[in-house]
């Protein structure tokens, strides 16, 4: 067992950290957020330059062959500054579908452009009624000769309003909650019959509700087996959870750092509030929660590529439970220990809290994953 980063990983970490320090001061973030797309194309281009946008793709496809650990390093850095760019949406989610299911022609056409920062994708997997169930898909893909016709509504499509193309999950057969019969389809954002309504999210990001009415899909835009999309989505979701865990660790670390700094400077009763033991112990508990979360983010990264699907899902669920619990505690306590300063939009701490609260509800909350874990035999097997 070895927790050290390789030389390349250390290099990656250093350069991402440097870029974030350079480009992501909190005041700058506000300007990115205020732009139409809600993120910075300029910073995106720098991600491309650094190789971040091609990071998880195979070298043969024009990527850099990075794995979950590399993604972890990037997401953690993003988490610390609350980066707004659609990395999760385009690279981890949509890119994850392409890596797993796209044919050679699709990969050749898309991945080099994604890696160059010229093409932004989004994944439209969830629907207004589906909550955390990836298999709950009502949108239909009706076969018509060689083509498919999509009808239905997709919801909470992360960065759906700035994507050039969407990957849409739609049903080619079966009932709304059948695991089989889900297909994945590439759709142009401006395809006839597609309307989208973009909106800001609580954490400063953006998402979209998307309506599909008779959207025609050419045969070349079907991604993978038109009835076997669910395992692809599940595996992509696990990648996304591992990535979100890392992002949350970055945000939690920053929240704790800022809180401790505040404890050392804010004075009441003639002394710094950090001299109060009640607050020292609270901060220590936040540190414990952060360490536990960091451990599980590493564990998630280690297990995201696990071949045994049951083991992988178990590990990812466990990680999401820990992250959810730590995120809630650290988020809430950072606000509490900042007093009124925690309640204003002007300081960053509230934004960190809000992002953490939203990560809690992405791809399954604590209860959801605990229920999944409760159906397994746990980690401590018979000896």
């Amino acid at each position: 067992m070895d927790f050290d980063l390789s030389e390349e990983q250390q290099l990656l970490k250093d350069s991402v950290d440097r870029l974030m320090a350079d480009r992501y001061a909190f005041e700058k973030r506000k300007t990115y957020q205020a732009s139409a797309e809600g993120w910075s194309r300029e910073v995106w281009a720098q991600y491309a330059e650094l190789g971040l946008l091609g990071l998880p793709f195979a070298e043969a496809d024009g990527g850099f062959g990075g794995g979950p650990v590399e993604t972890m390093l990037v997401m953690e850095a993003f988490g610390r500054v609350l980066a707004l760019e659609p990395y999760l949406a385009s690279i981890v989610l949509a890119g994850g579908v392409l890596r797993r299911a796209a044919n050679a022609a699709q990969r050749q056409a898309l991945i080099p452009k994604i890696a160059a920062g010229e093409l932004v994708l989004a994944l439209a997997h969830s629907e207004p009624q589906s909550r955390y169930d990836l298999f709950d898909v009502a949108t239909t893909a009706r076969r018509e000769g060689e083509t498919y016709i999509l009808d239905g509504e997709k919801g909470l499509v992360l960065n759906g309003d700035s994507a050039d193309k969407l990957i849409v999950a739609a049903r080619t057969s079966g009932g709304r909650r059948d695991p089989a019969g889900i297909g994945l389809f590439l759709v142009e954002a401006d395809a006839p019959g597609l309307t989208q309504r973009g909106y800001p999210t609580q954490d400063g990001g953006r998402a979209a509700e998307i309506a599909l009415a008779g959207v025609r899909i050419e045969p070349g835009d079907v991604v993978g087996d038109p009835a076997g999309g669910l395992p692809v989505l599940e595996s992509v979701a696990d990648d996304a959870i591992a990535a979100l865990c890392a992002e949350a660790v970055g945000a939690m670390e920053e929240a704790l750092t800022q809180t401790v700094a505040y404890l050392k400077t804010r004075k009441q009763f003639g002394v710094t509030i950090g001299s109060f033991q009640a607050l020292q112990h609270r901060a220590s508990d936040m540190f414990v929660a952060l360490e536990q979360a960091r451990s599980m983010a590493c564990y998630a990264a280690m297990m995201a590529n696990e071949a045994d699907v049951a083991e992988r899902r178990k590990a990812i669920s466990a990680a999401k439970v820990q992250i959810g619990q730590s995120a809630r505690f650290i988020g809430q306590q950072s606000i509490q220990l900042h007093g009124g300063m925690g309640m204003t939009m002007e300081t960053m701490i509230g934004h960190l809290f809000k992002r953490l609260a939203m990560i809690e509800r992405q791809f399954g909350d604590v209860d959801y994953h605990l229920e999944k874990l409760a159906d397994t035999d746990g980690f401590v097997g018979a000896q």
Partner: protein
């Protein structure tokens, strides 16, 4: 970064596991599974089996019987012992006074004591805490005064674990009252047979006899039993208390108890189904397992950081292991209480060994559950209470 065990580590784990399976007397294992106390003889027998194999003090320097294992292997070893479950060698000897002696003791002390610690020929106990000196240990009042070629020791120690079995006690005593309280303390080794020592049992809330008061009344100890330098005892005590990092979280014990919880929850039927099939219970167990898994990874991180740290300096992150590890241990016993339900009530006194053959009220495993729950409250109190650990994190890590 590769967070899997190496082939070498896996092979080592299998070797340890096989050895324990083959060598641990089943009667001892069964007592531990049932959460019953093992006897002095049980621990002596098992320690000698380990010592024969060269595994009683694997973390010691090789010249004193250490196995030369990496920190990761030491951790695997501890974890396997805890999970088996097998007794761990007596901490007061192998983890506390042993390392103090080989680090600060004289050659004569090393030769005289270390081999006997490894073989549990000498049973050691820890004479630190006093009625007036708990968390604020440095305020201790027991004195050692030079009297010819002897120390004359007077005072009282308390909470002294298993002093009733002990051949030796290591004592912190005040040798200079005129200086700052940390600077007038010495570390002295005392033969428990010395006249003037009285041991009085303290019964703990679980009904057991595991701690004692130890009184010193003009106890004469040869000067040569001082460890290291006079008035430097506080440094050695800090070394001793910070020394135990590997396995401090007792994760293996919690894992073994999770197995026990599953087993008993499968046996215990409520209504028409075993408790293990109750969704609410399963979720509580799952939540606990998540915490165990996270702490296990944290422990691996602390261990792998160890080689980058200055030797002998404790990692303040081990306070995380102590806090979480003790909370988890306590949580496992709470789940056991949930499993046993109302038949937690009947009490039977463990000291009356023959009564364990009488028919039990309720399931035969039930009587040990509540005492285990009561007893485990101790783990967040001793070894530096969890509040003290939070103080360490706040100061040493967060700089508050």
């Amino acid at each position: 970064m590769d967070l899997r065990f190496t082939d070498d580590e896996l092979a080592f784990r299998d070797e340890v596991r096989a050895f324990i399976k083959q060598s641990l007397p089943d009667s001892i294992r069964q007592k531990l599974i049932a959460e019953r106390h093992i006897s002095k003889d049980d621990l002596v027998v098992w320690t000698r089996i380990l010592n024969e194999k060269g595994w009683a003090v694997p973390h010691w320097p090789v010249e004193w019987g250490g196995a030369g294992w990496s920190p990761m292997k030491q951790l695997i070893f501890r974890d396997e012992l805890q999970q088996a479950p097998a007794p761990e060698p007596l901490a007061f000897g192998v983890n506390m006074v042993g390392p103090v002696i080989y680090t600060f003791g004289s050659e004569a002390q090393k030769k005289r004591f270390l081999p006997r610690i490894a073989n549990l020929d000498d049973w050691w106990c820890q004479g630190f805490s006093e009625p007036g000196a708990g968390s604020d240990l440095a305020s201790l009042k027991t004195t050692a005064r030079r009297d010819g070629d002897h120390w004359l020791i007077n005072g009282q120690k308390t909470w002294t674990t298993l002093a009733q079995y002990a051949d030796w006690i290591f004592v912190l005593a005040r040798t200079d009252a005129s200086v700052k309280k940390q600077e007038g303390i010495s570390f002295i080794l005392v033969d428990m047979k010395t006249p003037g020592i009285t041991v009085r049992p303290i019964q703990t809330i679980d009904g057991g006899h595991e701690v004692n008061e130890v009184f010193f009344d003009d106890v004469r100890v040869p000067l040569e039993n001082l460890v290291g330098q006079e008035n430097k005892g506080w440094d050695y005590a800090k070394f001793l208390l910070g020394n135990e990092r590997t396995g401090i979280a007792r994760i293996g014990i919690s894992k073994a108890r999770v197995r026990r919880i599953r087993e008993l929850a499968s046996l215990s039927v409520y209504g028409d189904k075993p408790i293990i099939d109750n969704p609410r219970f399963r979720q509580k167990l799952a939540a606990l397992e998540v915490e165990i898994k996270a702490l296990e990874m944290t422990q691996f991180r602390v261990i792998s950081n160890e080689r980058k740290r200055e030797k002998g300096k404790p990692d303040p992150a081990s306070s995380v292991l102590k806090i979480k590890g003790s909370e988890i241990q306590q949580a496992t016993t709470e789940l056991l209480m949930d499993v046993v339900g109302p038949y937690a009530l009947p009490y039977r006194e463990e000291r009356e060994a023959d009564r364990w053959n009488e028919p039990s009220a309720g399931p035969d495993w039930a009587a040990a559950i509540a005492p285990t729950y009561f007893n485990m409250r101790k783990v967040s109190i001793y070894g530096g209470s969890n509040e003290i650990q939070r103080g360490i994190i706040a100061k040493a890590i967060l700089g508050l």
